[in-house]
């Protein structure tokens, strides 16, 4: 019986341990045998420690080492010269290793690569980067076995394809010999004619198989069936819940009682703000002074490590945490998981529940705590999904071009490359299996000279093609710049929050640099603070006192102060498509209502009598007047991100129709738009008006026009530009040089959009927008679903269903562009001074 959490990981290493124990080579002659990749640095370190005990136990003399950003330079050099048997590292460090001049030799004897938490890696650009590195490893070491360790996912085949080379083809590198790979059964038969490298413009015509097709090579699948079914409940506190809000304040005493009744409790929440709030409320109730801690991504790293260590030592009774603990080190004695707020996805909730009680034969125990009546519906849908073990993990990704650009430069740093051979290698990575030769060429062109139609930078090229047809990196400076830029995680610029002491004699003045650092906030958030503003952070209400040398100075606000600034960005997951469909199905079927708490069933009945309830696939649209304005509400249930995009587009159309929209609000379930003209009347006069309003062509010109000026699009573009190396990464710890000398990516975006809108990075940003902050793809699926299925109800007052989304007005900031409105308001104050 393996200790908790070590089971799956240790299993991944077993083949390597067996092989290494049988190896007759002297330790000094051995090269790297096994590589382990984890999404978290801390996890790699932890696993190394866990491995050493069993290895010593069976009397093996093996060198097991880690390589992370913290590994000192001399050790890194030594690892290259004398590789360990087993190396544990992260995707970013692997990218650096394969771009090393010695990479070919270093990996030549690699037999096994273990990818941990693969389900979490493959959904992001880190997964794209890792897939390209894996493709390189398969080439450097034919016959390499790739093992992926994953939680249960909806489409295991996508992960199986990820692990093995796709589009298998003839070896263009004569050194690797023939038939050396383990994947020679059948795949090798698909030979392709490859132009010799010395022809002027090789243009091999790839015939990639459709992704996901049965013919794509796949790794073997080993499924460990779950043991006992989870013991999962909806926390019913016997009170009527509000129609909006996510804090679940009414359930805090019940949560506190659960903590008292258990050994160790993980309290998961969805956003950092919610974590701060829950933590504060629990301490307000904490008469027994139970050790309850807080853990989220904005807290100071040392503080987080302290919390983790205390948890591992079993000295905490509860941790309030965000997604930062979805992955990571397994802690022994968690006997209860509480999820506060909406579950958002079936797979997500199952993974969170799995954090409790890792023994297979005992059920995990968990409570779902809804924050409002809609979240009760969502919790019900999630409970059903867990019972059926239904999964809703996202689809396989299409590889991002910006990540490929980074990789291509890295490969030039490793060695001169032949474009045809590199193309074949790249399309063997599952996310890039359908990449066309032309798109690949565009990436190489981008890496060389920026990929501009105006060939202005030819003489500064970063990579150059020699007479032998091979591309080489220009000089050591370019290689150095690559190493500084590696990775796909683009952190928002952050400022430290430091506790300052206020001067008693002079109110409003603080002594900077006196207190400790509490953590970091996004610069975008800090920008919106003015001295005197209060906000929740690190478990207390702070008063912002001003910025001093790039640090936000704050003091403790007096007891009983309510934070004035509502929110700072934390992660917000949209409701999964799968859960959304289940919620719609529950609402549409009155027989289902018996399974809901009475308050929700009553609420739905009330809605049916006042207005109507939409069918499972329908879209309900209500229009009604209120307090001198006219409202449109709609309930697509497609998640906040898609709704925000929908809101922006509908507002544009309503403006064109001269209905004078003023603003909108969105939540996970619906949107509300308010305007000055009477929409109900317009629909009565023009029966097709609503159908046209929601027509699919919304995703055409309107979307394009809005994307061009959207601040979210600019943020997306910035990330692509950093990953692809167009602009340099801001490294933490480096002093800001002043904004006068740094070029804002917004300016770059504006210029590029006007002069070369089809540039590689514009395409990359658009690809991200489809699934990322704007969730355009999901909006498109919704618009298709509701064609001819819009149910409109003109009302003379707000309906029970609409109240829920109306309550978001004023609570959430609207993503509008209205910069001019802010400026006008500031201007008005000047005018007032002048006149007053």
């Amino acid at each position: 019986m393996a200790p908790t959490g070590a089971g799956k990981t240790l299993a991944g290493f077993l083949p390597s341990l067996v092989a290494l124990s049988e190896s007759r080579a002297k330790p000094s002659e051995r090269k790297l045998h096994t590589l382990y990749i984890s999404p978290l640095k801390a996890l790699a370190v932890d696993i190394a420690r866990n491995l050493e005990a069993p290895v010593e136990g069976i009397g093996l003399s093996l060198r097991i080492e880690t390589r992370t950003g913290d590994t000192p330079a001399h050790k890194r050099t030594r690892q290259i010269e004398r590789p360990p048997d087993i190396l544990l590292t992260t995707p970013e460090q692997l990218a650096l290793l394969i771009a090393h001049r010695e990479a070919a030799d270093f990996f030549s004897q690699l037999r096994c690569v273990v990818l941990d938490e693969l389900h979490a890696l493959v959904t992001s650009k880190r997964g794209d980067l890792l897939s390209l590195a894996l493709a390189r490893l398969h080439r450097l070491s034919p016959g390499l076995a790739a093992i992926g360790l994953s939680a249960t996912v909806r489409e295991p085949d996508a992960l199986r394809q990820y692990l093995v080379p796709q589009n298998a083809l003839s070896e263009s590198d004569p050194d690797t010999g023939d038939g050396a790979g383990p994947f020679s059964q059948g795949e090798k038969a698909r030979m392709r004619g490859v132009a010799p490298p010395d022809t002027a413009r090789p243009s091999p015509q790839p015939s990639p198989p459709g992704r996901g097709s049965a013919s794509s090579p796949m790794a073997d699948l080993v499924v460990v069936r779950g043991g006992a079914a989870p013991n999962l409940h909806l926390l019913d506190i016997g009170k009527t819940l509000p129609l909006a809000g996510h804090t679940a304040w009414h359930s805090m005493p019940a949560i506190y009682d659960l903590i008292r009744a258990h050994r160790t409790v993980l309290v998961f929440v969805n956003t950092r703000l919610q974590a701060e709030y829950t933590f504060q409320e629990l301490w307000r109730l904490n008469d027994d002074v139970l050790p309850i801690a807080l853990h989220h991504g904005s807290l100071d790293a040392t503080q987080r490590r302290r919390v983790e260590a205390a948890m591992a030592a079993g000295s905490l009774r509860a941790i309030v945490c965000t997604a930062t603990l979805d992955l990571g080190i397994d802690w022994g004695d968690v006997d209860l998981v509480i999820n506060v707020g909406a579950p958002k996805g079936a797979s997500r909730i199952m993974q969170r529940i799995g954090r409790a009680n890792h023994r297979m034969d005992e059920p995990s125990k968990a409570y779902l705590v809804p924050g409002n009546r809609f979240e009760i519906l969502e919790c019900r849908a999630a409970l059903d999904a867990v019972e059926e073990a239904a999964q809703d993990t996202p689809d396989a990704r299409l590889g991002a071009p910006d990540v490929l650009a980074q990789h291509v430069l890295g490969m030039a740093c490793a060695d001169a490359f032949d474009p045809v051979a590199l193309y074949d290698e790249v399309i063997s990575a599952a996310p890039y299996a359908t990449l066309s030769w032309e798109d690949f060429e565009a990436v190489v062109d981008y890496v060389a000279t920026g990929g501009y139609a105006l060939r202005a930078y030819e003489r500064f090229a970063k990579i150059l093609r020699g007479p032998d047809g091979l591309w080489r990196v220009r000089d050591a400076r370019v290689a150095q710049a690559y190493r500084m830029n590696v990775g796909t995680i683009v952190e928002a610029a952050k400022v430290k929050v430091r506790l300052a002491r206020s001067l008693r004699g002079k109110p409003g003045t603080v002594l900077p640099k006196t207190g400790r650092v509490l953590g970091e906030i996004e610069e975008d958030f800090a920008d919106t603070l003015t001295p005197g503003d209060t906000f929740l952070f690190a478990g207390e209400v702070l008063r912002f006192e001003g910025l001093a040398e790039d640090e936000a100075m704050a003091t403790r606000a007096g007891p009983g102060t309510d934070p004035a600034i509502p929110s700072y960005a934390g992660s917000k997951f949209p409701l999964s498509t799968y859960l959304a469909a289940r919620v719609r199905a529950i609402i549409a079927d009155p027989f289902e209502w018996d399974r809901l708490p009475r308050q929700v069933a009553d609420y739905l009945l009330l809605q049916r009598s006042r207005s109507l309830l939409p069918g499972e696939r329908d879209l309900l649209v209500e229009t009604f007047p209120r307090a001198g304005r006219h409202y449109l509400t709609a309930f697509p249930f497609e998640g906040r991100l898609a709704h925000q995009t929908l809101g922006m587009l509908l507002t544009r159309r309503l403006e064109r129709a001269r209905l004078r929209p003023l603003g909108f609000a969105a939540n996970d379930y619906g949107i509300a738009i308010f305007m000055t003209r009477d929409l109900s009347e317009r629909i009565a006069l023009e029966p097709r008006f609503l159908e046209d309003l929601f027509a699919q062509d919304m995703l055409g010109d309107d979307l394009e026009a809005w994307l061009d000026e959207s601040s979210m699009m600019k943020r997306t573009f910035r990330q692509c530009a950093v990953i692809a190396g167009l602009i340099e990464r801001r490294h933490p710890g480096l002093k800001k040089t002043g904004r006068q000398v740094t070029i804002s990516t917004d300016l770059i975006y504006d210029v590029l959009r006007k002069h070369q809108p089809d540039h590689l990075l514009m395409r990359a940003a658009r690809q991200d927008a489809a699934t990322g902050l704007l969730d355009v793809r999901r909006l498109g699926m919704m618009l298709e679903r509701i064609q001819g299925r819009i149910t409109h109800k003109a009302l003379d007052r707000v309906s029970p269903l609409s109240v829920s989304v109306m309550l978001e007005i004023g609570r959430e900031r609207v993503y509008g562009e209205g910069a001019d409105e802010i400026l006008a308001e500031a201007e008005a104050q000047l005018l007032e001074e002048a006149l007053g």
């Binding site: 920026g450 920008d527 544009r652 004078r660 167009l726 000398v741 609207v814 308001e825």
Partner: protein, 249 residues
């Protein structure tokens, strides 16, 4: 378009959609000269039919490529010239003054694309053009037309690149790339701006890739000891905002 979240219906109705349709540019009298602060960032002196633009920073993109290996889109020069062309078409000036740092570096003119060079020539056609020397382009190379000056007098105005503390009234300068920031109700807006105290004026940078320095930065203190007003370039018009409403970075 949508407004930021309104708490007050009247505010929204007053500021909402109608806002974008008003396009007044604030006027200003400096040392007896009547001036118009244009939304493009240029200064129009109607009595002299002169358009003044500052800190064009032409060829900044190519300067980065040459110096740092960063390949910014090489379209900044044509974008800047296109904006200038649009303003010239509106005002039809007899004279254009480029108030220094017109090129990002002294070798900028050499790197200019032939098309962009032709565009400069077209703008100069039939009118006087003065390059004021800046710190980035103190030694201007030949071949870009126009005449050169360190300082230019225009009626009561003194036009020079770097603002000088304690200058006589009527100084118009650039160099600092002023930007104003307004933070309100959890939102922040940062825009290029003109800054004036009624005695002197500092102009916003005109170049497509020119950054900005917050007017609350210490660099502005020797110039504006007392109160000042920042005229921020909004999306639809210029907004006049007092020092008290402007935030630091």
């Amino acid at each position: 378009m949508t407004a930021p979240f309104p708490t007050d219906e009247d505010t929204i109705l007053a500021l909402g959609l109608r806002l974008e349709k008003t396009q007044k540019s604030p006027g200003l009298t400096l040392a007896g000269e009547v001036l118009t602060l244009d939304l493009c960032g240029g200064l129009w002196a109607p009595a002299h039919r002169t358009l003044i633009v500052s800190d064009l920073h032409l060829e900044k993109g190519s300067a980065y490529a040459a110096r740092t290996g960063q390949f910014l889109p090489p379209y900044d020069t044509r974008e800047t010239l296109a904006c200038l062309h649009e303003a010239v078409a509106r005002f039809d000036p007899a004279c254009i003054v480029a108030l220094g740092d017109s090129f990002h570096d002294a070798r900028g003119p050499e790197r200019m694309e032939p098309g962009d060079r032709a565009m400069v020539a077209a703008l100069q056609q039939g009118r006087d053009w003065v390059w004021i020397a800046g710190n980035h382009d103190a030694a201007v190379s030949e071949g870009v037309g126009g005449r050169y000056a360190d300082v230019l007098r225009l009626g009561g105005l003194t036009l020079r690149h770097e603002p000088t503390p304690g200058a006589a009234p009527g100084e118009v300068a650039g160099h600092l790339h002023p930007c104003g920031k307004v933070a309100m109700r959890g939102r922040a807006v940062r825009r290029r701006c003109f800054v004036t105290d009624g005695t002197r004026l500092v102009m916003p940078a005109f170049g497509a890739y020119a950054g900005g320095l917050n007017v609350r930065d210490a660099a502005f203190e020797p110039l504006f000891s007392k109160d000042f007003t920042a005229h921020l370039l909004g999306d639809g018009r210029v907004f006049s905002i007092g020092r008290g409403m402007l935030s630091k970075d």
